[in-house]
Every structure is written in C-alpha cells, then in structure tokens.
Symmetry: C2
C-alpha cells in the first residue's frame, strides 16, 4: 500500500500547531448523556419555525426550483440582498443591495474580514474578552491583539485610543450587543465615542451583531452601523433569529469595499448555498420573521429570569454575574483564586457544563470566569444545572491553604 | 457622515490586486439575453431531480427537522459521512466515516488544501492547463506553480518528475477525469506512474474529481485514490451529479490528515449547511443517485455528439479539439496566431460565449485555446452556437498581414 506518512506531510506550521477550539469542546460536552449543558451557543430547537420553513421551501420549489439548486453569483441572490437592504433601511441604516454580500453564517464574514485585512503580525483591536471563534479565525492569519478592557458600558474607549496610538491596529472588531461572551451591551455614549476614534484614526469598525435583534428588556440602542455610516461594516446572521443550520449571514458595508469581499468569497467556496438563500428569502418575504423574533424574546427572557433566580438562590455571595437585557449568554466571575478551567472536569463529573472564560481573553487572563448559555436548556434543567454549579462553587471556593 | 475612505482602507495588498476571475466573467456572459453560452460549467437545469429532492426534504422534515436546521459539527453529519464512505468502498476505495470531511462544494476542499499546505512561495505541481478556480484559491496564498505539459493521456509524468526535482512542490493537484478545462482523462499507466513518483518524493496527490462519475463512453479508469491509497486525497462533490446549489462536497483522505482540515474548516465557517447535508443524505439513502447519474450520462453524451457533429461541419480544418468520454467540457485549439481572448468580444457581439484558454494556464500560455461546455445548452443552441463560432473563426483565422 502506498503511504505518505502524516508526520512527514508538509502542512503549514501554524496549522499543525492550531489548538482544537473551545467551540469543539463545547459540542462534545453538550452531547454527553445526562449532562446539563450551558456551554453551547445554540438557539432553542423547540422554537425553530419548522412549519414556516417548510412553507418557504415549498414556495421556492413551486416558483424557482431549478434556479434554487443551480450555481449562483458569489455576492448572493439579488432578491435576498434586496430584502436584507430594505429591512436595514427600515430600521435606520439606509442600505441598498450593493451594500450587502451574503456569507455562510457570521463566521464566514469574520473569515473574509481576516483574509481581506490581516497580514501576519497585524494588530486587531478587540474587547477583552471577545468571541472565541473570531480569535480562532484571526489567529490563523497570525494576527496580534490590542485587547481593550470592558466595564458594564462595554469597551472602555479611552483605553482603546491609547492602544490605537501604541499598536496602529488594522481593524476594530466589536460585538456591541449582548456580547458573546459577557452579555454586555455598549452604551450610546461609548458607541459615539468609538465611532469618533475610529474615524479620527481611519480604522474600519467591524460590528459583529448576531444577537442585536434579541433584546427582551430595556431600551434599544441604535446600531453602530446606523450611527457610524461608512465607518462601520456590520456582520449579521440569521443563525440566532431563525436557524443556524442554514448557514446564512451577511455583511453590510460601503459599496466600494464589498467587491473585495466578493473576490475572496469566490475563491473560498464560489458562493453560499443557493437553496438556503432562497428559503430564507421566501421566509422573509412572507413576513414571518418579526412574529418569530417576538416569540424568541419572550422565551429567552423567561429562561434568563429562571437562571438568574436560581443563581441568586444557589451561588455563593462572592460570585458575580451580568444580567443581560438580550441575547443568549451571561457571564460569571468567581473570586480570583478560582480556576474555572481546573473546575471544568469536576463540573462534567457533576453532569453540568459551561465554557471556561480564558479562551475568550486575547490577553490570556480571565481564568476565574465562565460563560453560561440560557437559551438551549429547559427551565427545569436551568434550575438543576445552576444548583449543581452552586454546590461545586461552594466546595471549591475555599482558598488553597 | 462619518466615512473611512476606501482608498485608504488597510486591505491586504494581494487582495487589492486580485483579478476578477474568469468564472465571474463567465456568469456575466451566460446571463446576457440572446447569448448562447458555452462558457459556464453549469449542469443542465432540466435534469435536476426536483421531485426526488422535494421528497428528500420532506423526509428530513418528518424525521429530523430540528436537528437539520441546528448547528452541527465541523466534520459534517455522521450519517452523510458514513454513506459517502460506504459508496466509496463499494466502488473500490475502502473508506470509513473518519476518512471523510464534508465541505461546501469542491471549491472549499481546494481552499482547505491551500490553507493547510501552502505558505507564500511554495510550489504546487499542476497540469498545464488546469482548473482556474483552483489557481485562484492557490494564488491567494501566494503559491508558485510547477505546471506539467499534457498529452492525450493526461499529465506527462516524466516531465512532472523533472519539475519535482527542480521545485520540490508541497502538493500535486490534478483533475484526472474529464479534466476541467480540456476534457482529457489520465490513462491507467500514467496514474500508476504518478502515484509512484508522488510516493517516491513523499508528496501528497490531491485528485480533484467532480466529473469522474459522468463517463458516458469508453472504459472506466480506476480512481487515483483506489490505486494510490493513502498517497491520495480525493476531492469530490455532488455539484455535477446532483445539484451545485446545495454546495456539498467532501474530501476522502487518510484518517491522520482529516483532523487538520477539520480545524481549518471550523474557523472558516464552523460547518457546511446542516439542511443541505440532511437533504443529500436522504436522497442517497433512498437509492436515487444511480438512476439519476445514468440519465445525466445519456443526456450529456447526446449533447456532446451534437456539438462534435456541428464542429465537424462548421469549424475550419486547422482547428483541433478533444473528444472527451465524459464530463461537461471539450477543448478547442486554434492556430497559434489566433488569440481567443481578443476574439471574445466579437463572439459576444455574435451572441455566442466561451471561456478563453489563457487563465487556465499557470505558465501564461494558451491564448489560442478555448473551453466549450456542452451540458448547459439545448441541442438547437449547440448547433447554432457552433455555427456562429465557425463563422467567427473563418473571419478571423487569416494571419494579419
């Protein structure tokens, strides 16, 4: 048998060294029998609008079956780009189809951003912590990070400006609404301040905004894109508001920059699933999205409340957490001496899973933090899982003698 | 209005310089009203098995609706990987699910190969000419090329070995069956010889094989993978045998190497459309593929025959062409002084389109060649388009005085 020995295979060094990501671990924990998982970022499956998606598929097949399974252009099908642009316009961001490129989920938009902007050693300004999947994509391109401290108003922009002067970053990457992982939303003042700083130093802002539509409490904030115009490229997705398995996201950016993303998209995978694009177009055109999002909001608010209530009851006094007004996640901070990565195997033993915080921190700190997802569990499991975590915390929060 | 000026945007140099690809031009020509296009690589839309795909979708929705629109793992859904492995085994390549990773079409498999293996300046051994979309993907990673001359048996492996000694390429990329663009199939002797050379120098062979199942004439050749075992990674897709708009392809390679592709796939787009994977699984599980492929073969054979017959009637004597035994393309060589790129605007004026040959040649030659697609036009248009090309050739084949 002919064999090329793997150990001799001429793989790129930084691919060999890539660590298997936290996301992958998440999926492993989530699937173990009996484990209550707060680890994934999965939408509640019982809410997927299956009947309306079937209806949309049937409409596609009756109107457009052959086009819907044929090749299409790299930018995405025109009618989907138009309806997305119209919806953005309706919500305060004047947009046309030429501002929109369809991507295979928000993750691919991040990937295209990295490909188009990052050379080895380039700096990216991010929140500290930030979305681990973005760090994974950026790190492939050997990016360096200028991580900005956060408070309950989001990124502290004064500190961002210091880091900009020091590192001259290529782009700013932010998750401004119900951030993954912390659940924190950037305040209006900080939004304006960030746009001013970005404009002053001529650095594009990429606003990764998968959760913005899922605000179930408090006052909506205008999006960075609606405030910042061409200084901002919005990264959006239907993964959290409709269904992640269709892998349909998009970018909304200046008309001059979109063709560059089109070129890199083309050599990546030619285009995103034509069928998925047609299904989502028909779903949106039938006016189904708004009612569905309302339903999600109600459900996630109730689940967040259940989780918070259980935390108040079961968590020790010196554990702190965020109380997000939307999204899928909240963020727990334990006393500094507690390591959530060291605690994780014990948690799995007790049949409860979370994501430890460290991988979200570009600066390598945060080992006393964890992310909890409240969208994917039942109310009963939310209570029981938090109770198990509470027991674990109490057993492990005594400083080592 | 805040604005970051595009001309100042800090894009990566080689992204700014990327040329809009021949593929994109193809799609433009193909869509002009009245133009008979032999340019695209599009399957015949009238053959798409719409009813069976609808049936497969309904089965998915009844058995697995929520899982089919949820996130899944980066490798692809297990049942699809298993049935693909079983089908490969049945055809002479012993495979298990762990040999298979699902990709977003064959193009993304090429992209993952480039990401995992190519550093700037690395050489790739290819046929000359070769698939232009692969060149586009490789060139993003600043690959260099060792292009190997072809004859009617495919790549001339003796010449390949000379180039291997000279350039020490990282990988060998071949389209061994009904090659895009030439339609040429590698002979059995050359296959064995290529595997021997690759094994001798420990260079993995990537066999991009989208058309292999569409042999409508002559004796089937064993695949490189079935001959070469672990020396070969096969790149496959359902785009040509079922429907390209689902964007489902895969790689079949050694178990030790697949996890590296999994890691790069993950940071690219998390995973390929869950829904598309489920639909194709149910389609295959229902045993629909084989009959459908037979139908495609019959249709494409008849179309190829119509095109060849028209060429014999309408093309001048010193035009040469290949007569492929399968696939979607044939290849036309004009006298050396004729430039098919210069001729293209005149062809569009005459309402017929082709792809000029030069972009397929890593060595920059081939301006007297063109690729013609016979799968996407009606018989009537095949005859009329070839007639128009014949007129054009006769008008433009006199050497300039």
């Amino acid at each position: 048998m002919n064999k090329v020995h793997t150990e001799k295979w001429p793989l790129v060094d930084h691919v060999v060294k890539m660590e298997s990501s936290a996301i992958r671990e998440i999926l492993k924990y989530s699937s173990k029998p009996g484990v209550i998982s707060f680890a994934g970022g999965l939408p509640a499956p019982e809410l997927f609008p299956i009947d309306d998606l079937r209806q949309a598929f049937d409409t596609v097949m009756e109107k457009n079956a052959r086009a819907a399974v044929q090749y299409t252009v790299s930018m995405g099908i025109p009618q989907l780009r138009e309806i997305i642009a119209q919806r953005a316009t309706d919500r305060g961001t004047k947009s046309e189809a030429d501002n929109i490129i369809i991507t295979s989920g928000g993750q691919q938009a991040i990937e295209l951003l990295a490909r188009a902007f990052i050379s080895p050693g380039d700096y990216i300004l991010t929140e500290n912590p930030t979305y681990v999947g973005a760090l994974q994509a950026f790190t492939y391109y050997q990016a360096k990070y200028a991580p900005v401290e956060m408070d309950d108003q989001g990124m502290i922009v004064d500190k961002a400006e210091e880091l900009i002067k020091k590192h001259n970053p290529k782009v700013i990457y932010t998750v401004s609404n119900f951030q993954n992982p912390t659940g924190i939303t950037m305040s209006l003042e900080r939004r304006k301040q960030l746009i001013d700083v970005a404009t002053k130093y001529n650095i594009p802002i990429f606003d990764d905004n998968p959760y913005g539509d899922i605000r179930f409490e408090g006052e909506p904030q205008p999006t960075l894109k609606s405030l910042g115009g061409e200084a901002v490229i919005a990264i959006r997705t239907f993964s959290k508001t409709l269904a992640p398995g269709l892998r349909i996201g998009w970018m909304n950016g200046p008309k001059e920059i979109i063709p560059y993303f089109e070129k890199v998209k083309q050599c990546t995978d030619l285009h995103t699933s034509t069928l998925g694009q047609h299904i989502i177009y028909e779903y949106l055109a039938a006016g189904k999205a708004e009612g569905h999002i309302e339903k999600i909001k109600g459900d996630y608010l109730a689940k967040r409340n259940t989780m918070l209530e259980a935390m108040r009851e079961h968590f020790p006094k010196d554990v702190k957490w965020t109380e997000p007004e939307g999204g899928l996640f909240l963020w727990v901070t334990l006393p500094e001496h507690v390591s959530t990565s060291a605690l994780l195997p014990k948690a799995i033993e007790q049949k409860v899973a979370y994501v430890h915080g460290k991988p979200f921190f570009p600066d390598g700190t945060g080992d006393n933090t964890m992310r909890l997802n409240f969208s994917n569990a039942t109310h009963e499991n939310l209570v029981e899982g938090i109770r198990r975590l509470g027991v674990l915390f109490k057993e492990n929060m005594q400083p080592v003698a």
